[in-house]
């Protein structure tokens, strides 16, 4: 549950979610649940060049146009490989401490 609590702290911040299929999506973290399902707002695909198999028109969030309606995205927790956090969203000492406490309490 540690990472659930931890991610909850990041709500409202911009994160990049890298999926197991190599797709990376950046957006504002809207919410996260206990299964680490992630909801993003204002999403866009990061670094299109890295994903040549992704066609432009396939991806709704490819072209970012803030004047258009907010694009919401729900990502299944089980397909997430990494979540890249904003540097200012990580207090390493607190995270260290929390992981230790979690390990002890487990």
């Amino acid at each position: 549950m540690l990472f659930f609590s931890y991610f909850k702290e990041l709500v409202g911040k911009e994160v990049t979610v890298e999926l197991k299929n190599d797709l990376a999506i950046r957006g504002i973290l809207h919410s996260v649940d206990q299964y680490l399902n992630i909801k993003l707002e204002n999403t866009r695909v990061v670094d299109q060049d890295k994903y040549p198999h992704m066609e432009i028109r396939l991806f709704p969030w490819k072209v970012q146009k803030p004047e258009l309606s907010v694009r919401n995205c729900f990502i299944r927790g089980s397909v997430v490989r990494y979540v890249q956090l904003p540097p200012d969203g990580v207090d390493i000492d607190i995270l260290h401490d929390a992981t230790r406490r979690e390990a002890r309490g487990g």
């Binding site: 999926l19 299929n21 198999h53 396939l58 709704p60 969030w61 146009k65 309606s69 694009r71 919401n72």
Partner: protein
Amino acid sequence: MALGLRNVGEDERNGDGNPILDADDGEELMHVQPGVSVALGNRAADSSSGTLFISTKRVVWLSDVDRSKGYGVDFVSVSLHAVSRDPEAYSSPCIYCQIDRGDNADEESDGSDSECDGDLDLSKVSEMRLIPSDPNQLDNLFNIFCECAALNPEPGEEAEEENGWIFGDEQMNEATEGEDASEWCFSEDLANPIGHANGGHDLAHSVLELQINDQRFEDAEEMGHEGHDAHQ
């Protein structure tokens, strides 16, 4: 619980034309959205309009015209879903779904375009767009999708919680490689519980406590250590 998209044929519809739900599995219908067309892969949207059924387990689209035509995908296979309103992304506002094809994922379907003239192999479809005739329904549909997706965690997800122990063990190994002093504490602590324990269960319990104790000591050491390093 098959992965990926599959056909929902006539025999899977009930008398009302709704998909037959797996009541034994606790499947319940959550939402019915008439006037929805579907586009699979990067094919054009199916010309026939249909009805979207969202249950607690899956998403089913059934053609209004052709009773033998329908597609279904379990929520466990929906990797992500999103609202697409950008005309540059797709001509019509839609719900975009990425589908986990499981074992078929290896066969990259770069050629899904070329499948346009033939029959589409549903097991290779990795994307589905659901286009409601009323775009105002998108947010509502998205929210229902979210709600139902959250009802379908990975099978065996509960096991995740037990990983805490693996984590703890890792930390302990790390810890025992550490300071001599704490190793000494470890050995001394070890002597007592074993001396007192008769049954294997008690022993395990004591060792468990021991690990916890050891970690606590080690933490204090480490913290001081890190702080020290930082000052140098």
